[in-house]
Symmetry: C2
Subunit: 211 residues, 2 copies
């Protein structure tokens, strides 16, 4: 595993897709697969697949292909899915509730430790057995609990303030759904889901394709 | 505008961000901005900004910079936001409801024409004045109404079938939230929001940063 140096963002962004397809193969009781067969399913070229996986180790065997279970395990380990993660959701509006209800979240090894909102009407409500707490408790909660990931689903205007509070509380990964580019220290990872930007990309491509 | 040829996907993916920052500047009554000042806000280099915008036309003036209102208008036009779009949401679970409730949607020029679900408990319920209809009505609805964008929020197992139905109904743009890579003809644009993959990217980077 010592090959793992300077992996490009393009390769990293493809890893979750390998994870998804390998899990699918496992569920369908496929034991082994060649890079050519995997290529036909996943839509990357066979040479791309070999190159990508080569960044992390020597997984395939000439003439045999990949052992699906083993490769799935390796990809899980590379992604860090062999550990558990504690997460909090801040903002229990529509998106926050959708994430809280998202069943795949637990399957992937994420534990929802808390949900926070400022709306008094939501306080005490439970989503999948986790009670929505007052956002004023967030600091104290983070002080008492080790939280890896903060899921930011608050309006744009509050997002940086809550992000700062999560960071002060020791959170090192922010999954940000607010339409804003957050400012954070270098050791904090921010992954954005900017829905409007995704929709605008779709519209641009739609218009271009119809010209 | 005749420059618009072979624009790279990287440039296209940056356009919505320009749109967002220019709207912010407009709201703050900023009349003009240099590529250097815009660079400090948006986080792309000044030369990147000049190159990006140059793909579409000559917008800046030496020594003056960009007229914010004009550039915002140009970016809107490039993105196709000077037109209106009719959309339907298929799948009124958590994500579908979150999108239906998303206030920015209408501001950007998108009209939610229909919401469809298979769950009888949801039928007749209204979200922002749009009634949730039986998914069995989808085909007939698409036959009667011109719909540009289908927002796919159904479980993975139904996604390809509904995608096919949208396409038969004349929909040319699919905003896909199901964790699956859809198969569609070339003239149909598919933009994916794969939430699990975004989360797994975050976790990978989080682990790497802590090594």
């Amino acid at each position: 595993m010592d090959k793992k140096k300077n992996i490009s963002m393009a390769v990293i962004k493809r890893l979750p897709k390998y994870h998804r397809y390998l899990l699918e193969l496992l569920k369908n009781d496929v034991d082994r697969i060649s890079s050519k067969e995997l290529s036909e399913k996943i839509g990357f070229t066979a040479s791309q697949i070999r190159q990508d996986l080569n960044c992390f180790g020597d997984f395939g065997q000439q003439g045999y292909g990949y052992n699906v279970r083993q490769l799935y395990g390796e990809i899980r380990a590379i992604l860090g899915l062999d550990k558990h993660y504690n997460a909090v959701i801040v903002g229990a509006g529509n998106i926050g509730q959708a994430i809280a209800n998202y069943s795949n979240f637990k399957n992937l090894g994420f534990e929802l430790s808390g949900i926070f909102d400022a709306n008094p009407k939501l306080l005490g409500m439970k989503i999948r057995d986790v009670e929505i707490q007052d956002i004023d408790n967030l600091g104290a909660f983070l002080h008492k609990n080790h939280i890896d990931i903060g899921i930011l689903c608050v309006p744009k205007v509050n997002a940086q303030k809550i992000c700062d509070e999560l960071i002060v509380g020791g959170v090192k990964g922010i999954w940000n759904f607010a339409p804003i580019d957050l400012v954070a220290p270098e050791d904090v990872i921010i992954e954005n889901v900017h829905l409007s930007e995704s929709l605008l990309t779709l519209v641009y491509l739609l218009n271009e394709s119809q010209k």
